[in-house]
Symmetry: D2
Subunit: 149 residues, 4 copies
């Protein structure tokens, strides 16, 4: 309901490999961090400052498997998704929050020499980006987990 929108658009580099987590033989998630960075010259010290922001990307099912297969640490990727902050309780019983990007579309930006003759980039009909939407649409169980892992 309600005329709202929650959209994130990122271009960044993987800081680590895709980590898969299987719920059963059909449902899984892949997780990986990507870094975005901005830099500027400080007016006070005249030195270049670089700030890096890390984003926890979560991708589901078939899209996750494509990411695991084709993405490596260091690769550049375009990610579109939505922000989700999850609440969990740490081992001291404290409430904790972690924010992740639930990816529903992506496109690889690192050219792969070895991808030329093999299966390269996933597609969907609407655009040459991979859509995680359909694959996640029939995975309601994925939305039930509220455990940190």
């Amino acid at each position: 309901m309600s005329g709202t929108l929650n959209k994130v658009i990122l271009i960044g580099n993987l800081g680590d490999e895709v980590k898969m987590h299987y719920f059963d033989d059909k449902n899984c998630v892949g997780r990986f961090p990507i870094a975005t960075s901005e830099s500027y010259v400080s007016k006070q010290t005249n030195e270049r400052i670089t700030n890096t922001e890390w984003h926890n990307i979560v991708v589901r099912n078939k899209a996750a498997e494509i990411c695991e297969k084709y993405l490596s640490k260091g690769d550049k990727i375009y990610v579109e998704g939505k922000i989700k902050t999850r609440k969990w309780t740490d081992d001291k019983g404290m409430e904790r929050y972690s924010t992740e990007i639930q990816c529903n579309e992506f496109t690889f930006l690192t050219p792969k020499a070895d991808q030329q003759n093999s299966a390269p980039q996933p597609q969907n009909t609407s655009q040459n980006t991979a859509s995680a939407q359909q694959t996640s649409a029939n995975a309601p169980v994925d939305d039930n987990d509220d455990l940190p892992f």
Copy 2:
């Protein structure tokens, strides 16, 4: 393939009613113009200048029918889609181009008093926006038309 992206994000007001065009009993398109405007104060004349840009929105199938049912001239809408420039030949045999926005997601921004208790806003599972993607996905015939209308 190819790591490209073609995305348009608009918030604007309908300049006219949604015009439907049926191909058969299952496939249709709806078309409507929306206006975006920007204004600024001219440094030369000190007067306020407003520029209005008109966008031709095209939406397909079920999404089109939802738009026709709930949108009226003047309403504000969020539209997401892609740019498509179509080539056609005018009655003098001249090549002409027209650019349209093929909408694949939208959300209504005008509160409807009468929508409160009736069917209000379309939804999809991924977000509270309507997705035209699924409905158009199985309508390949829609992509065959290259006629201006």
Copy 3:
């Protein structure tokens, strides 16, 4: 440097009033939460599920003052910005993280009766949205704070 992008696009409703925090007579931040929601019908229970996501919006300087002046709890707003996760230490010495949206462009979506003849919507030259970029550009001290507040 580095060809990355960190962009968030939200349409949501304010869950509270804008809270201002002044650093000095020129530099300030405004903070307010906005909610986005999505809903769907569960295939298992057949009931409608609504998930609400809260986003902490941070806006600076002149843009903050405009928000404080014209926005109220419940209003709908378009916000564009970037994700920033800040690390802080709680009173037990634990490391904590909180994610906020640093807003650099916004546009009000709730029609205001009383705004019609008074100063309504902020503008900038590039578009009819308010840009927090320029105002924050000359406020480097704003970027030095790493305290939770």
Copy 4:
């Protein structure tokens, strides 16, 4: 005015070199086409169909000079801007329209070996993307041209 938004987000490859047009020693525009493509397998013929869409990018002043200096045909770029359709009269006195993307932010996505030690990617303070906004802000004359060129 009015709570509207006109935003385009593209990732594509240059189909040609950047063409510069100088108005005077301070004001200029750069123009270049970028291609986005989508592909899918036809359900009818089972063959792969690729559709390419061409976008005319317009960038101003300092940003234009940066593009001219660092971009070449074939390079991949992220472009953010707004849609503008310009009306002009052809040599037969017919009204013609052409749609272009007025770029106000971009980031280069093709790694440049030779950019490593020289001035690589433009930046601004808000993010590691180049902003054409400031540079074009003080170039009101640029907005007066309504000539096709």
